[in-house]
């Protein structure tokens, strides 16, 4: 089965399951039932202040402060947000998890709700690295975005993705420290 077909399959299956639940009158806002796709939608997601990528100045401060906050270190394998850089056109695009309404990564995770979880209340999709121990990369493969917004760390055999700095009282570090203010929290 090709990658695209697999993704489409998951997406279609998710929509079908959601429709089924809705049709049966299940208006649950939040469920941890592993077969349910009626997951809590995220309240917010990180986006750029403009879809035109040229607002970003390319400094990579977002990537650095993110990994320092989460891991106490810096390095490409630690990234949860990064830039697609075009050095010829001097344009930069910020790449990070978009907190999908129907998170295919979540459904693909063999340790769903342990390793890849959804936070009650906020709906934030996040990785619990203590439980992400198999190095299976199923979530990376399932990500419908290109490139996938989940990083695999071959050294520690775990994955990382943006968790909106859910444990940081001041909110996402990347937004706070972006010198160009090209990142924002978008309400869903």
């Amino acid at each position: 089965m090709s990658k695209i077909t697999r993704r489409e399959f998951i997406k279609d299956a998710s929509l079908a399951a959601g429709g089924l639940l809705a049709g049966s009158g299940a208006a649950a806002l939040y469920s941890r039932n592993p077969v349910s796709t009626n997951v809590l939608k995220p309240n917010n997601r990180l986006t750029q202040t403009a879809t035109n990528e040229s607002v970003c100045t390319g400094c990579e401060t977002c990537e650095l402060v993110c990994s320092v906050f989460h891991d106490g270190a810096v390095g490409p394998n630690l990234r949860r947000i990064w830039l697609n850089k075009n050095e010829d056109s001097l344009t930069y695009q910020v790449l990070t998890c978009l907190q999908c309404d129907y998170p295919s990564c979540y459904f693909a995770c063999p340790q769903r709700d342990k390793a890849l979880c959804i936070e009650g209340g906020s709906g934030i999709r996040y990785i619990n690295s203590n439980e992400c121990t198999q190095g299976c990369k199923e979530c990376v493969k399932a990500c419908t975005l290109e490139p996938p917004r989940i990083s695999f760390d071959p050294e520690q055999q775990i994955v990382r993705m943006c968790d909106m700095c859910r444990n940081r009282p001041a909110g996402p570090a990347c937004i706070e420290f972006c010198p160009a203010q090209c990142l924002k929290m978008e309400e869903r």
């Binding site: 607002v55 390319g58 106490g72 010829d88 010198p179 160009a180 203010q181």
Partner: protein, 638 residues
């Protein structure tokens, strides 16, 4: 991952001649010499013997990062490049800072620094990946411009590789050749592109997936918050039309105007222009104007310049498209933009104005108004064609070869305007050590008045190159006022210069940007960043002490390898400052400057006759081993 916080842990040592590749532990140097420039002083002391010429295989081409490189410390994406410089006159150990992302990538690949010695038998490049390095064939890259070379290396090693490369100018061993990475980050001054070319080294490609540990991450982020500028709150509405040098650019789809030139930059001061149509070649310009690059766009005084002496001469008028062409071509060919724009072309224009050049002699008709003329000139220099062969040696050497008397740099008398008064002033463009004038009251941008330029005279004096790359002076306003009351005799002038020199050593060792540090009202910022990253509490005073150690170690290299003395450096500095400055026509008082130098040496603990550090000074700074070697060579003052 390195056990050290802040450092990658190893220095890569490559001999291109024998193919030997080995590693040196960084820990041996880390805490006493930090990294960057300081580490290079150490490596130069240990590995570059006296008598090493710039293009000799014995010369070491060094790349060096610091403990802050690649961290969120603001502007810390920098790196230092060094070795014996072919641009300096005479050839001397020197250095050049470079921004961009190469330094961080080098650390993520497991190395704090690289020493490259020997010369390869045929064109090669060095490929560094996650703790390993190999020397690869680069014959198919030889001849390519810097941009094409980077494209090819990214095709081979992936988009996430980062490449430091030379262009045709470096291959031809031009003394004004650069090493470039990304669109416009270069080790510009010093001619280190020529050093790489002499080693048959086309490029260094790095790719790393490792990480650097931060000892106190929460504290580091707090320190960044403490000093970071208030961000622009609405980046979408700031620049609807782009007004630049009196021209309005309306043909840019998105009027973005700013660019970071270094990882972790918090100020993005580089103006960038995108998608400006080209007239000389096909396609569009996408380029950034660095501080000197904007002069390519125009030199004549315009309303938005006010009275800024140094930009009012009729050298060439404003033309943004020409400026972009010059910037891109100097980068692509691998030529030193500052040297071309701050020294060489103004000199050519002045020579032409005075009728010194005839086309039959040089093959050059000086037509700086035409973008295509610049294309021809830059190609001639890069490929050493015709008159360009001489210009590839740099302006100072070209003048020396042609004859200072006839072609000297004060041949042209321009009109300097200051406070409403126009004053005919002989224009001098060459400052010292083979480098073009730089914000020292003369040459381009002559706006610095007396006695402020006296401090530049001091800092240029003890260097081997244009010192303003990392020592744009910063002083407390009170100190400056005290200095102005008695410039030549007061203690405060040398004291300010010494403080700036120590901070210059520090910022280039950590590594941080000269445009951002030191911060006069928050002078402990560097020590706080270092403490948070490494976990070793280092006070501002302790860091200044290390700065002094580094300055003295560099001094020892210059004395041992290049016969540096008071006589040599004072004589080098005086001629430029004996010429009238651009504001009031002031010149340096030779006797007064001698007193100032006495004072400076005394405050440094250097002998006032020779200019050499004493044994006591070396030992006080933990450089006893250096003192022993200098004693053995008879290079300690009596």
């Amino acid at each position: 991952m390195s056990e050290l916080y802040g450092w990658a842990g190893n220095i890569l040592d490559i001999d291109l001649g024998s193919g030997r590749i080995s590693k040196i532990a960084t820990e041996k140097y880390a805490f006493e010499y930090i990294g960057g420039k300081g580490l290079m002083h150490c490596l130069a002391w240990e590995h570059i013997p006296k008598g090493t010429s710039a293009f000799s295989p014995d010369n070491c081409l060094m790349l060096s990062t610091g403990p802050l490189t690649g961290t969120p410390a603001p502007t810390s994406g920098r790196m230092e490049v060094g070795g014996v410089s072919p641009q300096s006159i005479p050839e001397m150990y020197s250095h050049s800072g470079i921004g961009g992302w190469f330094g961080p990538k080098l650390k993520y690949s497991g190395f704090d620094a690289v020493i490259i010695r020997g010369a390869a038998p045929s064109p090669c490049y060095v490929c560094i990946t996650d703790g390993n390095a190999e020397i690869r064939d680069a014959r198919y890259l030889w001849g390519l411009g810097t941009y094409a070379t980077q494209h090819e290396l990214k095709r081979i090693h992936g988009k996430d590789s980062c490449n430091l490369v030379i262009g045709p100018a470096g291959e031809k061993k031009s003394r004004i050749a650069i090493m470039l990475t990304d669109s416009g980050n270069a080790a510009g001054q010093g001619g280190f592109g020529g050093v790489a070319g002499s080693k048959n080294l086309k490029a260094i490609s790095v790719k790393g997936s490792g990480s650097i540990r931060i000892a106190r991450p929460v504290e580091l982020l707090q320190r960044r918050s403490d000093i970071a500028r208030i961000p622009a709150k609405n980046p979408l509405t700031q620049y609807e039309d782009l007004e630049y040098f009196g021209q309005t650019l309306k043909n840019i789809p998105w009027p973005r105007f700013k660019l970071s030139c270094s990882q972790s930059c918090d100020r993005y001061c580089m103006p960038a222009l995108l998608n400006v149509p080209r007239s000389t070649r096909g396609g569009f310009h996408c380029s950034d104007f660095a501080c000197i690059g904007k002069l390519a766009a125009g030199w004549q005084q315009s309303d938005d310049h006010g009275e800024e002496p140094g930009v009012e001469w009729p050298l060439w008028s404003h033309n943004i498209e020409r400026g972009l062409e010059v910037i891109e071509l100097t980068n692509d060919l691998g030529l030193n933009q500052y040297e071309i724009l701050g020294g060489m072309v103004p000199w050519l224009v002045m020579c032409a104005h005075e009728g010194l050049f005839s086309a039959s002699e040089t093959g050059l008709i000086i037509e700086p108004e035409k973008p295509e003329w610049w294309v021809k000139l830059l190609n001639q220099i890069a490929y050493r064609q015709d008159f360009g062969d001489l210009l590839a040696e740099g302006t100072s050497r070209a003048i020396n070869t042609l004859g200072k008397e006839k072609f000297g740099e004060t041949i042209y008398t321009g009109i300097r305007r200051y406070k409403g008064v126009d004053r005919p002033t002989p224009v001098s463009l060459q400052q010292a050590w083979g480098y073009a004038a730089h914000y020292s009251g003369r040459g381009i941008n002559a706006s610095l008045p007396y006695p402020d330029w006296l401090l530049r005279a001091l800092t240029w004096m003890t260097q081997t190159r244009d010192s303003n790359n990392d020592t744009h002076h910063r002083s407390k306003a009170d100190d400056l006022e005290k200095f102005k009351k008695d410039p030549y005799k007061s203690d405060i002038g040398p004291k300010m210069a010494i403080w700036d020199e120590h901070r210059s050593e520090i910022k280039c060792s950590l590594t941080l940007c000269d445009w951002a540090f030191p911060i006069v009202h928050f002078s402990s910022a560097e020590s706080k960043f270092l403490s948070a990253v490494t976990g070793r509490d280092t006070s501002e005073e302790e860091l200044d002490f290390i700065g002094e150690r580094l300055k003295n170690l560099q001094r020892a290299v210059l004395i041992r390898n290049h016969d540096r003395s008071r006589e040599q450096e004072v004589n080098e500095i005086l001629p430029f400052f004996k010429r009238p400055d651009g504001t009031t026509g002031s010149i340096i008082d030779e006797g007064g400057f001698s007193l100032m130098v006495d004072n400076y040496y005394k405050q440094r603990g250097w002998d006032t006759i020779t200019g050499w550090p004493t044994r006591t000074k070396y030992e006080q700074l933990g450089l006893g081993h250096v003192a022993d070697e200098m004693a053995r060579l008879g290079l300690l003052p009596n």
